[in-house]
């Protein structure tokens, strides 16, 4: 048919953007799958003492999720913008879910000091970051969008530039201030 109707994730993403809650559920499901897939790979590789090819792994996950392979005929820029927004929403919700699961306690889980759960590296608190990002958006919407696209959407500088119709130099410039601002906001919180 001449009207474009892509499939799978691409279609879901568009459906979601058309307000279809079912599409979002499906997307959440797919992201969730990827998260667990990634998590398993982390554990496997680390258990075996292999150096993890993190970049390739995560990039692959994003590719699987946002199906860029099949959006060549579409407007990539638009697609990227959607991807960042969507991933933010899903990942932050996912992090909230995990947090409340920890509080609620799984069937066989012993109440743990949360510090024990967090691995050696200090990971970004997605929930706190999400809140800080809202505050940043009130001050400077573009910078917040850039963080959304790069950090949540997994986009490159060039893709972010494409998505927001700004130059890559502007993306980098905005990124450095946004990053400092967010880091400062999160440190104050902690």
């Amino acid at each position: 048919m001449t009207t474009p109707s892509a499939h799978e994730v691409t279609q879901l993403l568009l459906d979601w953007s058309h307000g279809n809650q079912a599409a979002l559920d499906r997307l959440i499901h797919l992201v969730d799958k990827e998260l667990h897939r990634l998590a398993h790979h982390y554990m496997r590789r680390e258990n075996r003492g292999h150096t993890l090819q993190t970049t390739a792994l995560v990039n692959e996950a994003y590719v699987r999720l946002i199906d860029q392979r099949h959006v060549h005929w579409k407007n990539r820029a638009h697609f990227f913008a959607l991807a960042g927004q969507l991933m933010r929403r899903i990942l932050v919700d996912h992090a909230r879910g995990r947090q409340s699961a920890k509080r609620g306690g799984g069937a066989q889980r012993i109440s743990l000091d949360e510090a024990m759960v967090i691995s050696n590296e200090r990971e970004v608190d997605l929930i706190a970051l999400d809140e800080a990002l809202d505050k940043l958006a009130a001050i400077d919407a573009r910078k917040s969008k850039i963080v959304e696209a790069r950090f949540f959407g997994g986009l490159s500088v060039e893709e972010t530039a494409e998505a927001l119709h700004i130059s890559p130099v502007t993306v980098m410039r905005d990124w450095s201030l946004a990053k400092a601002w967010l880091y400062d906001a999160l440190s104050k919180r902690a």
């Binding site: 048919m1 001449t2 009207t3 499939h7 799978e8 994730v9 953007s17 058309h18 307000g19 809650q21 499906r26 499901h29 797919l30 990827e34 998260l35 667990h36 897939r37 990634l38 998590a39 398993h40 982390y42 554990m43 590789r45 075996r48 993890l52 090819q53 993190t54 995560v58 996950a61 994003y62 699987r64 099949h70 060549h72 005929w73 407007n75 820029a77 927004q85 991933m87 995990r98 699961a101 920890k102 066989q108 889980r109 012993i110 109440s111 743990l112 024990m116 759960v117 967090i118 990971e123 970004v124 997605l126 400077d140 790069r150 950090f151 450095s176 201030l177 400092a180 601002w181 400062d184």
Partner: protein
């Protein structure tokens, strides 16, 4: 913060970063000129900048995935651990992972030197970091390995390899007592008669006696187990022999035993080892952190015994602290409460084992063993006497008369109403069979009534296969029958004999698995609704089992098999990305597994029980075996057994897929067909090897259809040829019947006078009318696209449904009509001359004219009827072209697809790319948006008065809402309670609304006689 202030900060921040660090302070002091707050803010940002390092530099997906991994690692996890498969640990070659738990990962392996099968347990690194602990563990494990007892697992070796500690033990082909308990519960789930809820007393005693025997031997040798629980007791399939596992392992986790000075409950709760297990089986002295001796094992065995009888743990609670409180303080409820038939003597034995004061408990395993044996002998003697006294009565006693144990029998159409009224939930179809036998009379009556009640809904439709294929040789009719009609089927597979269809029912996000008998329409639930995804269904070759992939958070991408009539699912393979296909003899299966980090994916072959996995062929990106998430990616084993056909991506700039044939003997790959598709969902061989049935989509914009591909010529043609999407394809053994899920859109034209939904009237009866767009002429006629002719063509109808007339014919696909304001022309998108371009016809269908050379979407006309505004593809920019053709003029150089021109012709409303919840209003002459409105990311129409934008609000049910341009709140214009609205348009006077409205349903269909169509 004021924008100026922030701009200042932005500027200063970057200026400072450009300076050498030692020059920053002076610069800042000068720049801020006494504005202390500004200086502080910038200083904080510079400090943050210097400290931030890798902060948010790794994508959020990775951050969250690490969080998930951390959660898993701190809980008792059931993770796929297949990565060692094919590799070696010391002189053990790993065959397949058997499972994992707190105490490490267990693999089935082959002892290379001795040739025997062994189980190798690799301990978690967390436990082995502490050298002292490791030493104590080794001492204890060696002591245990010295135990030579038939009920204690034989330890072959305790070793170290690659920095990891492992234990090699005898391999037991059996199940854990935990599984055994779970199965016995699953078997009788829903059965109110709780006396059947558990294992038989005979089995319980058998298991307890053997366990006590093992403990007696160990205790005599001075070895305390410390972690007796159902997970550590295995029952061998072959002979029911009990094997106790993991002697001494508990010592690894038992920090309390070396730190007996200050035992507190708190310590136990936070010790690393505890996280891995459960406190439910711990003795009071153990939870108090006191020194433990052999009597702790007797308590734990008491808990296990209790659980075998009662079906639940005496102290089991959701949190450990609650469980601990019960262990220390509460007497468990008497067993008779759970099992009326429990012998009083068994109640006494359990009570004695579960005495909180260890001095009053059984003092030795031997004592417990003696009591258990004595009871067993007595019960056997009693049974013997009873048998003698009541010969012939046995069959009577087997009859259960509990009316509550009626099975869930349901038909897809009448699901809840007809049956559940009399049914009691059970997950197993065994009861169906059982109860039909027992209550033959009324059960058959119920079934009969069900068949009758749904018979009217079963129907067959006939379609011409390959309508437009010139290659069609036979016009024999292919028969299509619909098996379900609730619209909620997600996937289906047909049994080799064609008698059953298993399908996934997706209802509100919860999925369940149903077995439908094709002839009778009876429908049995095999797996109850759960927040799980079931996919990749297939029957084993012998038709006895259903293989499926279940996805939930703990076990994603996991293959299970379940007996066709229900029962306990058995986990076979983890981490697979496709439906499995079986070798002709049914002994082997093949599937696809992607490995994202390496960009490799493989076609693997394993035994039908999941063991013996080995890689047959590997493809690397950009080439791949299909491993799309949420797709079947189904490969197919050829009827002669020599090769496997697999859907595969061929990579490159224009992505496409093809079928690859992989030889089973050497893994050699070759292209089976030169034809490519955009995406292939599944392939299935036809029995005689003459070809394959394929579910694939030709282009990104075309639906998934069923194809026939000849072998070896590779020629392909469509079996189905319609606008519906099909999911999956499954064939009977004789290849006569094909099952698939049809996703069908039904859309027809409605008119709504006075914008009153209650007056809505359906005026066309097509199934694809106006699905993409409708437009209304100045005199109130409705132009829409429809597939009634076989292709998408434009049609026109009067508002009362009369005078329906086809406007385009024999000219490719034509859709997305927009009538010029003067009513002279219809502009639309057509692929008659190649790519989808913009065309124009007169309102009577004559004089077609091509208006663009480049690809176009979404046309709309200017108010003076001089221009057509459209969206270029793929860029998504707006252009306009004169209605009589000519040079297109650019309107925007940014992405705003789907223009709608305002009634006064001054504005264009279009989708705003930056924020998908908004619509941009742009001057007709172009330039930047002057306003953004919240409408959701929907294509809009201007209301006839030009004051608001109208859009379809949500789906199922859909309604039309309008968002005033002045920013006032939006409001709902229609009040439909059901169905979707696909498109809409107003009459010029705004008094009548034309709608394309209908449903989207997913149902299982069976297609037969499809082979004659090629």
């Amino acid at each position: 913060m004021k924008p100026e202030q922030w701009q200042k900060i932005d500027k200063l921040f970057h200026s400072l970063l450009a300076l050498e660090p030692d020059k920053r302070a002076a610069f800042l002091a000068e720049a801020c000129a006494g504005d202390e707050s500004l200086r502080e803010q910038i200083e904080a940002l510079i400090t943050a900048h210097d400290q931030a390092g890798g902060f948010i530099e790794r994508p959020a997906l990775e951050v969250e995935a690490r969080g998930v991994a951390a959660d898993f690692e701190t809980t008792e996890s059931q993770l796929p651990i297949s990565e060692l498969s094919g590799e070696s640990i010391s002189h053990y070659r790993v065959i397949v992972p058997l499972g994992s738990g707190g105490m490490g990962q267990v693999y089935l392996a082959q002892d290379i030197t001795l040739g025997r099968k062994v189980a190798v347990k690799v301990l978690p690194t967390d436990f082995t970091r502490d050298k002292d602990r490791v030493r104590r563990f080794q001492q204890e494990a060696r002591a245990a390995s010295a135990l030579n007892h038939p009920n204690i697992i034989t330890i072959h070796e305790i070793g170290q390899f690659d920095g990891r500690h492992f234990i090699a033990t005898e391999f037991i082909d059996g199940e854990t007592l935990r599984q055994r308990i779970a199965e016995s519960q699953a078997r009788v789930a829903g059965d109110k008669d709780t006396s059947h809820k558990t294992l038989k007393v005979h089995d319980i005693l058998n298991i307890a006696i053997q366990t006590a025997d093992a403990l007696a031997a160990a205790h005599e040798a001075g070895v305390v187990h410390r972690d007796i629980k159902p997970e550590n007791i295995m029952v061998r399939h072959r002979d029911g022999y009990v094997k106790v596992l993991d002697f001494g392992l508990a010592k690894l986790t038992d920090t309390a035993s070396v730190d007996a000075e200050a035992p507190t409950r708190n310590q136990i709760q936070t010790s690393a080892g505890m996280v891995m297990g459960t406190v439910n089986y711990m003795s009071p002295e153990q939870v108090r952190g006191e020194q433990v001796d052999s009597r702790t094992d007797l308590w734990s065995l008491g808990v296990v015994l209790y659980e075998m009888v009662a079906g639940c743990s005496p102290f089991g609670r959701s949190t450990s602290s609650e469980a601990i409180a019960l262990i220390l303080e509460r007497e468990p409820p008497p067993l008779v409460r759970y099992a009326r038939e429990v012998p009083a003597e068994l109640e006494r034995i359990v009570g004695k084992a579960l005495t909180k004061e260890k001095e009053e408990r059984y003092q030795t395993a031997k004592d417990l063993l003696i009591d258990l044996r004595r009871l067993q002998h007595r019960l056997e003697a009693d049974a013997e006497m009873e048998r003698a006294a009541a010969v012939g009565a046995a069959s009577e006693r087997n009859v259960r008369t509990d009316p509550a144990s009626t099975p869930v029998v349901s038909t897809s159409e009448t699901e809840a109403q007809t049956v559940t009224a009399t049914a009691h939930p059970t997950s197993s179809a065994e009861f169906l069979i059982g109860d039909v036998k027992r209550h033959k009379g009324w059960s058959l009556l119920v079934l009969g009534a069900l068949v009758a009640s749904v018979f009217g809904i079963i129907f067959s439709v006939y379609r011409f296969a390959g309508q437009r294929q010139s290659s069609v040789q036979s016009q024999e009719e292919m028969k299509v029958s619909r098996l379900t009609s609730n619209g909620k089927a997600a996937e289906a597979a047909i049994s080799p004999d064609g008698k059953y269809v298993v399908h996934v029912l997706d209802d509100g996000g919860k999925q369940s698995l149903w077995l439908r008998q094709v002839e009778t329409t009876s429908n049995v639930q095999i797996l109850p609704p759960a927040a799980v995804s079931y996919l990749n269904l297939t029957f084993s070759r012998d038709g006895n089992y259903i293989y499926y992939e279940a996805w939930d958070k703990k076990n994603p991408y996991t293959l299970y098999k379940i007996p066709v009539l229900g029962g306990a699912p058995r986990k076979l393979v983890e981490d697979l990305d496709s439906t499995v296909t079986f070798s002709p003899d049914g002994k082997l299966m093949a599937f696809i597994r992607g490995d994202p980090p390496s960009s490799e994916n493989a076609l693997l072959v394993a035994n039908a029980d999941g063991t013996g996995e080995k890689t047959l062929a590997v493809r690397r990106e950009p080439a791949s075996f299909d491993n799309w998430p949420n797709a079947r990616n189904a490969p197919a084993w050829s009827p002669d057994g020599r090769s496997i056909a697999a859907p595969s991506g061929v990579g490159g700039d224009s992505p496409s897929e093809s079928i690859i044939e992989v030889r089973v003997d050497n893994g050699a790959m070759k292209q089976l067909t030169t034809r490519t598709w955009w995406r292939i969902d599944s392939v299935e061989w036809i029995r005689d090897g003459s070809g394959l049935v394929v579910n694939a989509s030709e282009r990104s914009s075309s639906p998934f259809q069923i194809w026939h591909v000849s072998y070896p010529s590779g020629q392909a043609h469509k079996i189905t040829n319609d606008a519906n999407d099909y999911r999956g394809v499954s064939l009977t053994a004789d290849s006569k019947i094909l099952a698939t899920v049809e996703s069908e859109v039904s859309s027809s034209i409605w008119v709504v006078p006075q914008n009153d939904s209650h007056l809505a009237k359906q005026i066309t009866s097509g199934s694809s009318d106006g699905q993409d767009w409708v437009s209304v002429t100045p005199d109130g006629r409705i132009v829409y696209s429809s597939r009634a002719s076989g292709n998408y063509d434009l049609w026109i109808t009067d508002a009362d449904g009369s005078s329906q007339k086809q406007l385009t014919a024999h000219a490719g696909n034509n859709d997305h009509p927009a009538v010029t304001r003067d009513g002279r022309y219809v502009v639309f998108i057509s692929d008659r001359a190649g790519g989808p371009n913009l065309w124009r016809i007169s309102i009577d269908g004559s004089n077609p004219k091509e208006l663009t050379q480049g690809e176009a979407w979404y046309p709309d006309c200017s108010s003076d009827s001089q221009w057509v505004v459209y969206t270029s593809r793929p860029e998504g920019h707006l252009w306009k072209v004169p209605i009589d053709g000519g040079e297109p003029v650019r309107v925007t150089d940014y992405y705003v697809p789907g223009a709608a021109v305002s009634p006064d012709g001054k504005w264009i409303a279009s989708l705003w790319h930056v924020d998908p919840s908004k619509i941009a209003i742009i001057p007709f002459e172009g330039g930047q948006p002057i306003k953004l409105l919240d409408t959701g990311w929907n294509r809009v129409h201007w209301t006839p008065d030009g004051r608001a934008l109208a859009y379809v609000d949500r789906r199922d049910p859909s309604n039309i809402s309008s968002q005033p341009v002045d920013g006032n709140p939006s409001r709902k214009l229609t009040d439909f309670k059901s169905d979707r609205i696909f498109s809409f348009a107003w009459s010029r006077d705004g008094k009548q609304l034309a709608l394309a409205r209908g449903t989207l349903t997913n149902d299982v269909i069976l297609i037969s006689s499809f082979e004659s169509s090629h």
